[in-house]
């Protein structure tokens, strides 16, 4: 098989119309690879370190350009990485996102504020409720009803949010184990996720796309015995988690694959705009829940786990510990949760009771207008941020006073972390790309929006 074909002019074009490595290195190919080049000093440092190890290479080698994704079992259609590899070593890479672009922001402009919730479900689709909560808080901040939210609704939001965070981290950790070949821990973690999703299904009616949160509260109260079931599930989950941990954390092969791979310094991470578990893995204890508490997070005791070197293992360990901390928060929230309404009693925001809708013209009109026109949000703009599964999940909304957002932008943590992929995998092996990618936890829905 030939990887290159010689054209008449002497310029080498790789198969499938790929740019040549020279073109990639010089940035001379427009359109495909116009991202800024790697700083030369970084490249030379890296080469020096690499060359020391492989100094006795005799045969001249030639880099090969290869497409990882979008049709690839590990990228499954969400991303494309154009790799320039030298043997198994990544010399250059171009991470191309956008394969899951669904015009979330544009769609939101055409939907009433309530109708946006189903779209947010599909942002980070492994923790949809965190997106629900984030969007609801942004709109509520714009309306100015954040302080008036019913206590019980706030606690329920914390509970479902933390359950979602656990499912998010479980998916990420499980997938990372699978990506280095450990299939069993993945399924154990997915089993736990399934228990939690069954609970959420009981609560929201949907296993994945919950659309549970409403502006002004949540759509319905916790079902009977939910708290007891959650307690029991968390108890079960803890033991499974310990098993998974013993299968991975003390496993020499797993540690060899994760330790020291794709490390990043705290300065670089901050410079790249990282947040969430990825940033915390570099030792920066930034957690929106702790630093800018929202809902009732200031009433809970929990720790913010941090890593030290910012490698894949740190990202793994931070997430693992965060699951435990989320369970701690859940424990406290389940004890503290008060009785009361779960939706703000304000006809401008909350839908009237069905009985009243069918029997009084006032509620009928209110219902009609909330459905057709949407919740009228005062003109203005807002940036509201919460701690999502992957970091600071921000919603920037501009309202023109109508029932639909004039502009809605998502600061999606995955997108910001994904931009550093090229930097992280430079000089790593092909085998390291996928675990690194997994620990960055790029969620296509959230990244591409």
């Amino acid at each position: 098989m030939s990887t290159t074909t010689q054209s008449k002019t002497g310029m080498k074009k790789l198969a499938f119309g790929m740019p040549t490595p020279d073109e990639i290195a010089s940035g001379g190919v427009h359109g495909l690879s116009t991202r800024p080049k790697v700083p030369p000093d970084l490249m030379s440092k890296l080469n020096a370190a690499e060359l020391e190890e492989v100094e006795d290479i005799e045969l001249p080698t030639e880099p090969m350009t290869i497409n990882m994704g979008p049709s690839h079992p590990a990228t499954h259609g969400t991303v494309r990485i154009v790799l320039t590899i030298d043997g198994e070593t990544v010399r250059d890479s171009d991470v191309q996102v956008g394969y899951l672009h669904r015009c979330f922001e544009k769609e939101a402009e055409h939907a009433t504020y309530t109708q946006v919730f189903p779209y947010t479900d599909r942002l980070n689709y492994v923790s949809p409720l965190l997106n629900n909560v984030g969007f609801a808080l942004a709109v509520e901040k714009l309306i100015g009803i954040v302080d008036r939210l019913p206590e019980r609704a706030q606690y329920i939001r914390v509970i479902v949010g933390e359950i979602s965070r656990i499912t998010d981290h479980l998916t990420c950790l499980g997938a990372s184990a699978m990506e280095v070949g450990g299939f069993t821990p993945f399924l154990w973690m997915i089993k736990v996720r399934e228990w939690l999703w069954e609970l959420l299904e009981e609560l929201t009616g949907a296993r994945l796309t919950h659309s549970y949160v409403r502006i002004g509260g949540v759509s319905q109260d916790l079902p009977e015995h939910f708290i007891d079931k959650l307690r029991a599930t968390l108890h079960k989950s803890t033991s499974v988690l310990t098993e998974c941990e013993s299968l991975l954390v003390k496993n020499r092969i797993f540690r060899d694959r994760m330790d020291g791979v794709a490390a990043i310094s705290a300065e670089d991470a901050i410079g790249l705009g990282w947040t969430g578990p990825c940033l915390r893995s570099t030792g920066v204890p930034y957690d929106v829940r702790k630093d800018h508490p929202y809902l009732v997070y200031d009433r809970f005791e929990f720790d913010v786990p941090v890593g030290s070197v910012g490698d894949n293992y740190d990202r793994f360990a931070v997430r693992l510990e965060e699951i435990r901390q989320s369970m701690r928060i859940l424990d406290q929230a389940m004890t503290q949760i008060p009785a009361g309404p779960v939706l703000l009693d304000d006809p401008r925001v909350a839908m009237p009771a069905k009985n009243a809708v069918y029997n009084t013209i006032e509620s009928m009109i209110g219902h009609f207008k909330l459905i057709i026109d949407g919740i009228k949000v005062p003109a203005g703009e807002v940036y509201s941020y919460t701690e999502g599964g992957n970091g600071e999940l921000g919603f920037y909304i501009v309202s023109d006073g109508t029932g639909r957002p004039y502009r809605c932008h998502v600061r999606s943590p995955s997108f910001i972390a994904t931009q550093s992929m090229s930097k992280l995998i430079l000089g790593a092996g092909i085998a390291d790309i996928i675990p690194t990618f997994g620990m960055i936890n790029m969620i296509g829905g959230e990244c591409d929006r």
Partner: protein, 376 residues
């Protein structure tokens, strides 16, 4: 009647060899390989709290889903055989054959039972050497049996490498490269780790090794050569390209050297992997677990408890099968427990850790053998 048939076989060794080969391959290896595809999925399902394949049935016969391998075979037979454009058609077609043929041929040297004494099958045989005619339960008995095995095993690498090369796909090429480097590296370690056993048992002929181990369990390779057992088992798993050494496949990374194969061509690669598993178990059994030997069972029976010759032989064949099953199962457990190595880590393990240890093993064994033999 029975005796005359056996006598005919004892005199016409070529016919006997053919018959044994057919019996061994069609009656044991292929069914076991097929079954282990089911066993692997069922085993992994058990480990992962899943149900696994349990639906395939023929009418009311369900058998815990064992019939899935039949369904699989039918599916693979009838799937479209896609040959991508620009592949090297000859090599593309040759590669699966190159992968499966060597592993099947090497079964020729595996002894699956003691020599059968013709004419005394129903009486007690105290000394097999006194038999007037014997049928060895081994397809081909050759003095360089183990070398034959190594020679053929190193041929198997061509199957994967050719598949990777011929597919006209960069990913499969990478997989083929990984496969060739990995298999060649670990063959060195495999060969060297068996040296100790050869020194101890004084032969390269598998049946001789088994016979030398005897029915005394403490004389088996696993006790006389414990380090070699670990080294060989590890290296041999690497040779079969299964987790944690499944780098040529490396599902989330490379998809593997057989990425462009479909239908039964892929099925052959798949089957070859499982046959390699069984073969690995057979070699480990032969060298380290006493082959067909049953602890305490001599050719006449358990000590003073005499048994007819046929019963003894059957018992030994059954125990040999059980040992192989046990080792196959052990490999499944490892497969579903451990993550995968990275290529550089794999090389480091092979060349920097396993190889020095196997050399050390040879030196120590040689020294001990020299010392026990009184320096002669």
């Amino acid at each position: 009647m029975t005796d005359s048939i056996l006598m005919f076989l004892a005199e016409h060794t070529a016919v006997a060899a053919l018959l044994k080969l057919v019996l061994l391959v069609l009656g044991f290896v292929m069914p076991l390989a097929s079954l282990s595809t089911w066993a692997e999925r069922r085993q992994s399902a058990m480990m992962q709290d899943r149900l696994g394949p349990n639906r395939a049935n023929i009418g009311p016969v369900k058998l815990w889903g064992i019939l899935h391998f039949v369904a699989d075979a039918i599916k693979m037979m009838f799937k479209e055989d896609v040959v991508p454009a620009k592949v090297d058609r000859f090599l593309f077609a040759l590669a699966p054959v190159m992968a499966i043929a060597p592993v099947l041929i090497t079964f020729a040297v595996v002894p699956f039972g003691p020599d059968l004494c013709v004419g005394q099958v129903l009486s007690v045989v105290t000394d097999p050497t006194t038999c007037k005619a014997t049928i060895p339960l081994q397809v081909a008995r050759m003095d360089v049996g183990m070398l034959f095995y190594f020679a053929l095993a190193s041929l198997a690498v061509y199957g994967t490498t050719l598949a990777g090369w011929a597919s006209y796909n960069k990913w499969s090429l990478l997989g083929g490269l990984r496969a060739s480097s990995q298999m060649m590296s670990y063959e060195v370690c495999m060969g060297l780790s068996l040296m100790g056993a050869f020194l101890v048992y004084g032969s390269l002929e598998p049946n001789a090794i088994v016979t030398a181990q005897g029915s005394n369990i403490l004389n088996w390779g696993i006790f006389t050569q414990p380090l070699a057992f670990v080294l060989f088992f590890t290296a041999a798993i690497a040779e079969t390209k299964r987790a944690p050494f499944d780098l040529p496949e490396g599902e989330p990374e490379l998809i593997g050297y057989f990425v462009e194969y479909s239908g039964m061509r892929f099925g052959i690669f798949f089957l070859a992997e499982f046959i390699e598993t069984i073969f690995l178990a057979a070699i480990v059994t032969t060298v380290f677990l006493g082959g067909w030997q049953v602890p305490g069972l001599d050719s006449s029976g358990f000590g003073s408890f005499h048994l007819p010759h046929l019963a003894v032989v059957l018992l030994q064949v059954v125990v040999w099968s059980l040992k192989i099953l046990l080792l196959c199962w052990l490999q499944l457990l490892i497969r579903w427990t451990l993550p995968r190595f990275r290529p550089d880590q794999l090389m480091r393990l092979g060349w920097k850790q396993l190889l020095p240890l196997s050399l050390l093993n040879i030196i120590i064994t040689a020294a001990v053998v020299l010392w026990r033999s009184g320096g002669k």
